[in-house]
Amino acid sequence: MNVLSFINDKRVRDWFYQIALIVLLVGLTVFFVRNASENMVKAGIASGFDFLWRTSGIEVPFVLTGYTQSDDIFALFWVGVANTMLVTVIAIALATLLGFAIGIARLSSHWLLSTIAGAYIEFVRNIPLLFFVLFWYFGVIAALPQPRQSISLFGVAFLNNRGITIPLPDAPGNFRWAALVILVSWVGYWLASAWARKRKERTGQDAPLLAIGLGLIVVVPALAIAWASLATRWDIPVLRGFNYRGGFVVIPEFVALLAALVTYTAGFIAEIVRGGIESVAKGQSEAASALGLRPGRILSLVVIPQALRVMTPPLTNQYLNVLKNSSFGAAIAYPDVVSLFMGSALNNTGQAIEIIAMTLAVYLVIGLAVSALMNWYNARIALVTR
């Protein structure tokens, strides 16, 4: 009798299930690890991370970190991470701009404009991203003219089937100073807005935050960049023989991947923007308009702040998708972390487990950081109900 009631006790059974699951998982892990080590011994692969300090010998066509072929494999890893980050950050910025534009066009009262925006959204959302990557690479960029017939952009940058050649500053010193100035002015704006908020809570007075913001966020950085660009000697690409010399070549793989990520993601962001704006009750803008606000201020003071609350979580998902989707570049050999590390380095060393673990860790760490940042932002703008 006692044994039976012991078995029928819910808590006992719950623990039994959980322990059984753990035993099963541990057993499976042990089984897999043993097989893996046996298979690796058979194939003559040493385990461990020592391979990271070997000379890589892998040539990379697109390097931001100063890596050369004679550096070690760990340096190659960082090249991949930097290239992944570069294309992700630029694609997120451009896709957000394009997505907002299309999303707002979709809501426009202009029939033709909203129809075109809708057609664009339906078009890109129902086609695989890899299709766009291949299409931009083999369809569009491969069809651009040879270097000799390059499309000139204002006489300083040149677009051809080997990518975009852009001018490069001879010495980056001035730009380092400009970056410092920009950072200081942004921190300054942040301090000023905190001070203004405190003052408003205390005295109820508004500070001229818009003017300060415009000055510190836009004007000062623009001046700093203008000064740096004028004070630097530029290495402007010049046509010599069959190709451009000088400048910095943005490889076609980068251009194609970026174009694909931006055009594809913008379709999803546009739908998020539309959903967010539509979620704001009509009465809100009607009330604002009854208070005498102009349409522009209704949008920026009443509608967008409330829409942002609805939009932030799905936008975070899209940003994380851009990070993960940047790996699609592996299909056209854009040297991101997947194709450099999981591809070239793995082929050279055979260290499958270590390399896969490191590559996945890159995405998990960056992904966790992005979602932590966006969660913090989300919590800040969330509706506080008291």
Binding site: H110, F131, G139
Partner: protein, 347 residues
């Protein structure tokens, strides 16, 4: 309702104010600038009949190429005299789905379970052979058939796993909940392309030596796990939308956890999450294209590979337009279906 002449309605819509009029003109010019060359290329200047590249007029699309390659786009390198097997597998799958959809309510569940038990092994036997049929290696499979095969079989792994993990995430048992959360967040956090590499490299490594595992099976398993994590989140939405009282009532009637879940909670939750699950299935179809990186040639892979044919150099646009249109039609139809389900539920 007053009858407004359609002409004045259009005038009002497009030229109501000077600003809308200006926008309309700009947009119409833009459309004409893009659409006219496109239509000229795709229809007016295009060549539809013929058998070789020489039959194609310069300047227009050469749809002859698609006609010549149509079999490959559909079946990959599957032997021509065996293609009937793929057709029968497709017809059986379609018949199975239709019979479940149109069966009377009380038979539907039983029929669905029967189909799930019979069809998948039958499909694999028809496609790969053995037991009287000629054996056909998976490296000969390809094209649209492979896209559909991977999508269907990966979701056969993903849907049950996803349901289990969604239940696990909602479970009262802390360790089970933790394991489910880790599983879901891990697979959602890593790129699918990395998972395909991982599956193709690690699966042979962690299995006992001597057990070979087909490279197509590896890709399907990898994709299945990722989609399972996304499916779990879709199902979780349905579980969360269900009032707690449903499970409490079932428990009060004396049903244990699995009976309450299987008879009361899941049928309702799955019905609610069906649109979200359909959207994940669309994402899966789009992501099957990534098997290209381990040299498995699905529809997009076959289109890409066809560009290397020396007899048909420069047919990039034709290949992309054709394969893109097929993807678009499939995904668009599914997304419309998912949207209509959502509307039906709201009413």
């Amino acid at each position: 309702m007053t009858r407004v002449s359609s002409l004045s309605l259009w005038r009002e819509r497009l030229f109501g104010t000077p600003f809308t009029g200006f926008t309309s003109v700009v947009l119409v010019v833009l459309i004409a600038w893009i659409a006219i060359p496109l239509i000229r290329w795709a229809v007016i200047d295009a060549t539809w009949l013929g058998s070789t590249r020489a039959d194609c007029a310069p300047g227009g699309a050469c749809w002859v190429f698609i006609r010549a390659r149509f079999g490959q786009f559909m079946y990959g390198l599957y032997p021509v005299d065996q293609r009937w097997r793929v057709d029968i597998a497709g017809i059986l799958t379609l018949a199975g789905i239709l019979s479940v959809v149109f069966a009377p309510q009380r038979l539907r569940l039983k029929l669905a379970v029967a189909m799930l038990v019979i069809l998948p092994p039958l499909g694999i036997w028809l496609l790969s052979g053995g037991f009287g049929l000629r054996y056909i290696e998976t490296r000969e499979w390809g094209g649209l058939m492979l896209t559909l095969f991977i999508s269907i079989y990966a979701s056969l792994i993903a849907i049950p796993l996803g349901i289990l993990f969604a239940l696990g995430r909602q479970s009262e048992l802390r360790i089970i909940r933790l394991i489910s959360v880790i599983f879901i967040e891990f697979w959602r956090g890593v790129p699918i392309i990395a998972v395909i590499f991982l599956a193709s490299l690690l699966l042979p490594l962690i299995l006992p030596g001597g057990i070979g595992i087909d490279r197509l099976a590896r890709a399907v398993i990898g994709l299945g796990f990722v989609i399972a994590a996304y499916m779990a989140e879709a199902v979780r939405g349905g579980l969360q939308a269900l009032p707690r009282g449903q499970r409490e009532a079932a428990t009060a009637l004396g049903l244990n956890y699995w009976k309450a879940t299987g008879l009361i909670v899941l049928p309702q939750a799955l019905r609610i999450s069906l649109p979200a699950m359909t959207n994940e299935f669309i994402a899966l179809i789009k992501n099957t294209t990534l098997v290209l990186v381990v040299s498995i040639l699905d529809l997009l892979g076959i289109a890409q590979a066809s560009l290397a044919d020396p007899n048909w150099v420069g047919m990039n646009m034709e290949a992309y337009v054709f394969s893109g249109a097929i993807y678009w039609l499939i995904c668009f139809a599914l997304s419309r279906w998912s949207r209509s389900l959502e509307k039906k539920r709201r009413l």
